[in-house]
Every structure is written in C-alpha cells, then in structure tokens.
Amino acid sequence: MCLAIPMRIKSIENNKATVEVGGVEYQAYLDLLSDAEIGDYVIVHAGFAIEKLDEEAALESLEIWREIAEFSEKRQGRKRN
C-alpha cells in the first residue's frame, strides 16, 4: 500500500509532472515537493511525488558494498587458484 516507485521527471506543467520508469509514463502531482525539476528522480506514491531522490547519498553506501563484494571475490579467486 505504501508502494512507491522511483521515476524520472520528463516535463512539468503547473503542479503536475509527466514521470517515466522503464519506458512507461505516468502523471504525478508535485504538491508535496518544493523544488522538483525536469530530470530529477522522484519517488511516486498514489499519483504524488513524495520525495526527490538524493543521488550522492544513494551512491555512497552502494560503492562501499561494491568494493567489499569485489574484494571478497578476488580473495575467493586467490583461494581457488
């Protein structure tokens, strides 16, 4: 029920945006955001954008885990050899 999906804003008209995910377009109201712009990724729930996604924050923890995964893969590779 609290399902919400990240979508990219393609265009904005008044308080309504056309948003897109995987080639499918939806309409989303922007009443709950104060600074949404074209190209931003937003979380959409029941026809409203409820938050703008923070790219920097998103990448930070992902990078750490990616490094750990690559490190342990290399280590396992060494063990196998």
């Binding site: 029920m1 609290c2 399902l3 919400a4 990240p6 990219r8 995910v21 995987g22 109201y29 009443d31 709950l32 955001l33 104060s34 990724y41 979380i43 729930h45 029941a46 026809g47 409203f48 409820i50 938050e51 996604l53 923070d54 790219e55 924050a57 998103a58 930070e60 923890s61 992902l62 885990w65 990616r66 750990i68 995964a69 342990s72 893969e73």
Partner: protein
C-alpha cells in the same frame, strides 16, 4: 537499465552483505520485525530469508493498511454505498476485503457504484465531473498516504466542490509499534522501520523506541540490497549492545522527513483513537479530519446504521498482524481462505502476510 532500481538488485552485492551478516551474527537468536507490508514482499520475493543465518528470524508486523482496517470501517463504507446517488471511490486493495457480511466488490456486483482510483486526486476529478452525485473516498493508509489525501481535500476545497468527502481510517505507525511492545506478546530485538512512511515523517519519531524500549531501529528501502544492508545494520547494533535509530534508505529519507507533506497532513488531520484489526483501539494512532474541514468528513456527512461488526470464525488475521502467529498456523489458510475467495484481510492485499506467504511459498 532502470536507475535507482537495478543497482539495488545486484546479486553479487547481496551475497556480500549476507556473508557480512553471518560474520557478525551472535550465537543467540535474533527476532527482527519488518513492520511494513512492502518489506514483507521484498523478503519473500527475493528469498532473503534463505540468505540469513538460521538463528535470525524475520517476523511480519502490522504494516499493511488494508489488513489492519477494522470490519467496522468496511461495514460503514458498504452502508454508505447503499445510499442514493453515492459513488464510493477507493484504492484497489480495499475492494475485496471482507467486512462482516459482504465486501465492496460484492456490493459493486449487486449494483452499488464503487470505483477504484489510483490516486485520491482521481476521486476529486470524478466529483468535479459528477455534480449530482456524492463522491466518498475511503481514506486508508499510513503517513505515506495521508498527506496525499489531505492535498485532495484542499484541492476539492479550492475548486469549491461540495460533493467530495473522505471516510478517514488513516493510521500512524509509531503508536502501533509501541502497542506491540507494550502487549508483551512477542520478544523482539529490533525493528525494520518503514521506508516510505519515514520519507514523509523523518526518523525522529522512532527515537522513543530506541531510548525507552532499548529497541534498535533501522529505516529501510525496498530492494533486496536495501533489506540486507538494513538487517546487517540491525545485527551490528545488537552485537555491539547499541539501540539507536539509523537510516539505511538515505536516498529517499531525510532525517527531518518531507516537512511540506507533514504540514499538509497536519493542516487537514488531527490525531484520534483508532481501532486496528488484531491490536484493538490504540490511543492517538489514527487521523481524523479537523473541524475546519468537516464539510469533507464523510463520518459527519453520512449518518448510517449497520449491525455490530463480526469476524469470520477461525480467521487469525489479528494474531498474524501482531506477529504472534504465521499464516501456516491458520486452519483456513489455503483451504477455505484463498486469494480467489479470501476470508480475512491478510489474504486480500498484495502485501498481506497470508497472500505473500501463498504467492512466494516456493521461494522460502
């Protein structure tokens, strides 16, 4: 590649986090509750439980709004649907939930005008285009949804619509989490806190659980990498003897939340005591429409009578919502109660615990 989704489903990263959890896992059993129904789906759909140590248990909680909606609310909605010139509008999840004697879908089949909306704004559009009918929107959902419904009431007001109203059963999460702990029914070691509720509210509302109840809390996203990282953060807190509120879902959840959305919600709604299926009436856990907007309050607009609500005999949805029992312990599960003919609310919604158990049983 779909941004913000694919990278959080990376199997290599998921396995790496699962290995890290095993490394720091204490010998004693750990019980974590995923409060949100969306998280229950993530856990089952991606087979998360198979990646975890045997002594780490995940317990589903009361975070499926449809499932915790009381029969009283459904019976009332059905009674209103019988009035002349009324159109009931609702999220799709609600339509098949059984009330005491019927459901909205059965009433629809018998001729009541009941329509599914993707957004509460669709209901406002219907009101604008049907001036001779009364449009009643069924307001269910937690803090994620209440601001949107508030926005739809404000939109109806600005359009001077006098034929739009909301039957509010909106609920707020922290009071239910507190009620679960106060009941003493289950022994928990940490909460996987809802990501989209927290996107609206921020993370401060869980502080009392960490401080007063010594309960580790981590706000989580909805992809498998999110869920595993959240579990890692909780196990780490437990292993280190900490109980804090942490935020895994940083790309969506700001510490202070979405203040504009909270302001909208507080403009239209105020706290009230609310009945929850399985948990009873919880003080201050609901949202009712403020006096100022009473013209949009369906409780005030439509006085209806209906018999005392009753539950389907043998249904244990209430116990499942409290995390005390699992669906396989229900005698009705898969036999009498199925997605095609649900007897309890937990079998209806996609994120209902019984529906999720049934759908993804082969993966668990």
């Amino acid at each position: 590649m779909v941004k913000y989704i694919d990278e959080y489903r990376d199997p290599q990263i998921s396995n790496s986090i699962a290995q890290s959890i095993k490394k720091i896992m204490p010998d004693s059993a750990i019980n974590l509750m995923e409060v949100c129904g969306g998280h229950t789906i993530t856990i089952f759909k991606y087979g998360i439980r198979k990646l975890l140590p045997d002594n780490l248990n995940l317990i589903s909680g009361p975070g499926c709004p449809v499932c915790v909606t009381s029969n009283d609310f459904i019976d009332r909605a059905i009674a209103i649907s019988h009035l002349d010139d009324v159109i009931i509008t609702t999220f799709g999840d609600m339509i098949r939930v059984p009330g005491s004697d019927s459901s909205l879908s059965k009433e629809k089949a018998s001729g009541a005008d009941i329509r599914i909306c993707y957004s509460p704004m669709d209901a406002v559009d219907i009101a604008e285009n049907s001036p001779d009918s009364e449009i009643v929107f069924l307001g269910i959902g937690f803090e994620t949804t209440a601001p949107l419904v508030a926005a739809s009431i404000l939109a109806a007001k600005s359009k001077s619509l006098n034929n739009f109203s909301v039957l509010s059963s909106h609920k707020t999460m922290p009071q239910a989490m507190k009620a679960l702990l106060d009941s003493g029914d289950i022994a928990l070691n940490g909460f996987i806190c809802p990501g989209h509720v927290s996107t609206i509210t921020g993370i401060g509302m869980y502080e009392f659980l960490a401080k007063d109840y010594k309960m580790p809390c981590v706000v989580s996203g909805f992809e498998p990498v999110d869920m595993l990282e959240t579990i890692f953060m909780l196990v780490k807190q437990i292993a280190e003897g900490r109980s804090e509120v942490e935020n895994q879902y940083v790309r969506s959840v700001k510490p202070e939340g979405n203040t504009k959305a909270v302001k909208l919600m507080n403009e239209v709604f105020e706290p009230t005591d609310m009945p929850w299926r399985g948990l009873g009436v919880i003080t201050g856990s609901g949202l009712k429409i403020k006096e100022k907007y009473q013209d949009f309050d369906a409780y005030k607009k439509f006085q209806v009578d209906f018999p005392e609500p009753k539950e389907f005999p043998g249904c244990i949805c209430g116990d499942i919502m409290r995390g005390v029992k699992v669906p396989t312990q229900c005698k009705l599960f898969k036999k009498v109660c199925t997605p095609e003919d649900p007897k309890g609310a937990c079998m209806v919604s996609d994120e209902g615990t019984c529906a999720t158990y049934l759908k993804y049983a082969s993966l668990d």
